[in-house]
Subunit: 395 residues, 2 copies
DNA sequence: GGGAGTTATGTTAGCGATCCCAGCGTGGGT
DNA sequence: ACCCACGCTGGGATCGCTAACATAACTCCC
């Protein structure tokens, strides 16, 4: 395998020339293929004589193709194909010869040609959304990682809005690329309907999407996380917990909202209508300014860390100490949250696992050839830090 | 150059009729094929079955191809191609007919086939890095946006380390996909050398990369931003400014470091060796704990907002007030920084513009067919908030 | 020891699009 | 009249690769 040198890339090396029957048998990798003059200068314009035209004349700088490798190795293109794609029966010697030839030429397989011939592309599509929020970005990242491990390419289309039309359009674009499956990161409830008329013959996995469409799905258990956070606050002596919710059109916001509510109901606490945020620190700050003025507020659960940050600032400006006067919990466990003032108690989501799992579900469908409706729920985990009172049982 | 005979005399009749399932009983062993390769294998007899099963027999569930559209519209595939790709001369009536047929069939152009035929893919490659840091993510986002506007697909390969090998590998993978150009987001100095032996015939733009490689490049003027930040601190009465720098292998860290240094030198202040961070809030916190103990420290410039956050926390824990006792400035203007405690003075970078500009440079190269070495520097901008003393001239 | 399996290779025919060139009808210029 | 340009259209050939079949040389096993 030595020889990683490769790099030089094809432009120079690519002539095997010597037509006819004899083929240069370059057996060892290092070998210089003898080059009969004819560098780049060669035949530029296509002559109109059949004899002369032959494919090689156009070459001006064409990257080497499989036939070139075949010729150099003295075998048929088909054998090259087999040697390079492992799985067929090729004698070790032939394989070595082919590999050497390919290496010497700097040959690279042409994906478009292979896709056309085989009908599949080893590419997966991801429909993502136009945001730089921590969650979606991390999820995308997780998917990308997992895909590479599995040997797939990822083609991403990111949308700015999630209506039926744009999702359909995105799926269409991916379809054009002959993707073998699609992951839709669909955090908005509006995405649900958009997903209904996806082509039925394409493997699909929905991440953070509607829990009841007939599609395979991976979701984080938002409600459980929110319930844990809220219950924790209640368990440390608070009579009630106030909530700053996320945008109602986000599934995650809904899940966190209902988890919070159920925890309150469980202990018979009053469910005070939550304040509305839009995930940004700004909105959290605004909500915080309201809450800070209400003496009864001693515990706040913000639907994400950003908003919790805003809440913290507002409380500080109103001289309400955290956690002595008010406890605050966020959601997401963004890296910075451990360095908020004070370090934030929050709920961790394992986005890498979300990525890995969604990819697994997708590959399962691809391999089995059938759509599945399996749904996987990823657990979340409460991370206790110093923005809440109580026994620091977790780090 | 002959070889690959093609031309020499072909079978008189290109029998184009596939005889249904039966195969054309090729020549018997007696026929000598002169040499491996194509050529004169020629003339089997034309299929004798009148009933032309034709391609449509295989159809099972194959998406419609151009020939299907052609058939339905009653024209040749070539005409369909022309009608769909606008730019050729087709009568309005024909075009309408073709469009209607395509629409009726739900036809979508097969990208792989087109790529194979034309040699280009309307796809651009991006080599990114395995991080969820705000800068790279935002840049990628900006590129994606701009690419879609320009009608290009984006294929992303993200690396986990930036050595020569992995960059070469990434570029190779993109090459396989027949991308028309590549944007390399190369924030590490180690990427510089990796870029040296890129294929020379591929348009490339480097973002945040080495300022002196012979490649087109887009960079943010880190040094100017850092200088502005530092000078601002000095102008508000501080005798000196202490720095928490980023990882030395990052170009941005270098630029910010040198900007800071030059601002100090400008006024003849002592350049105290900076503390080292790794972009994380944690590292900023650690640096902050050191700086908080030093009475002379009244102004700190952290190389990014995350580290500034950590610094703020450390100062708080040591009862040093911001900005009364110590002023703090960050870099990046991440969305949250406006809600730090106190809201952070920082330097804004326009990542969308970076994305747009790098795409423009790349498309210029693609369209002109020549590599350029144009370099564009994007200005950064000081955003003054409450973590610094002085006149609040900016919001 | 001969038909049945294996292994290693070559041959042919596409995958679905575009390219180049040739074949039509029209006009217009000479 | 003739010829050629022009607008529109069709007919291969081809892009680079692989699936499917064909072939030849061996091994096996009863």
């Amino acid at each position: 395998m030595g020889c990683t040198g490769t790099a030089e890339s094809w432009p120079g090396v690519a002539d095997y020339v010597k037509g006819g029957d004899q083929v240069a048998r370059a057996s060892d990798p290092g070998v210089e293929t003898p080059r009969p003059g004819y560098g780049a200068a060669a035949g530029r314009d296509t002559a109109s004589f059949p004899e002369v035209t032959s494919r090689s004349s156009r070459s001006a700088r064409r990257p080497p193709a499989m036939t070139d490798v075949a010729k150099l190795a003295g075998v048929s293109p088909q054998t090259v194909s087999r040697a390079l794609s492992q799985h067929a029966s090729v004698s070790p010697m032939t394989r070595a010869r082919v590999l050497a030839a390919a290496d010497g030429l700097g040959y690279r397989l042409n994906t478009a040609a292979r896709t056309l011939a085989t009908g599949h592309s080893r590419t997966l599509g991801v429909v993502a959304f136009n945001s730089t929020f921590f969650g979606p970005v991390s999820t995308l990242h997780g998917i990308e990682q997992a895909a590479r491990v599995a040997g797939y390419f990822i083609s991403v289309v990111s949308l700015r809005s999630i209506d039926r039309h744009s999702v359909a359009d995105a799926v269409g674009r991916l379809n054009d690329q002959v993707v073998e499956g699609i992951v839709v990161i669909a955090p908005l409830t509006s995405a649900a309907e958009a997903l209904e008329n996806l082509p039925t013959d394409m493997p699909v996995v929905v991440v953070e999407g509607d829990p009841n469409a007939g599609l395979a799905a991976v979701t984080v258990d938002q409600a459980a996380g929110a319930r844990a956070a809220t219950s924790y606050l209640l368990s440390t002596g608070h009579q009630n917990v106030f909530h700053v919710k996320g945008p109602p059109e986000w599934q995650e916001a809904q899940g966190r909202l209902s988890g919070w509510r159920s925890a309150l109901e469980e202990v018979g606490a009053e469910v005070v209508p939550p304040l509305s945020g839009d995930w940004t620190a700004r909105s959290g700050y605004q909500a915080g300014q309201v809450l800070a003025r209400v003496p009864e507020v001693t515990a706040i659960f913000a639907a994400n860390d950003q908003m919790a940050l805003g809440v913290l600032l507002a409380l500080h400006e109103h001289n309400r100490r955290v956690p002595e006067d008010v406890s605050v919990v966020g959601f997401d466990n963004i890296p910075d949250s451990a360095y908020f003032m004070p370090p934030l108690t929050t709920v961790r989501q394992d986005f890498d696992q979300v990525g890995r799992t969604s990819l697994r579900l997708l590959l399962d469908q691809i391999n089995s050839g059938a759509r599945s409706v399996e749904r996987v729920m990823i657990q979340s985990e409460l991370v206790v830090r110093q923005s809440t009172l109580g026994t620091p049982e977790a780090s």
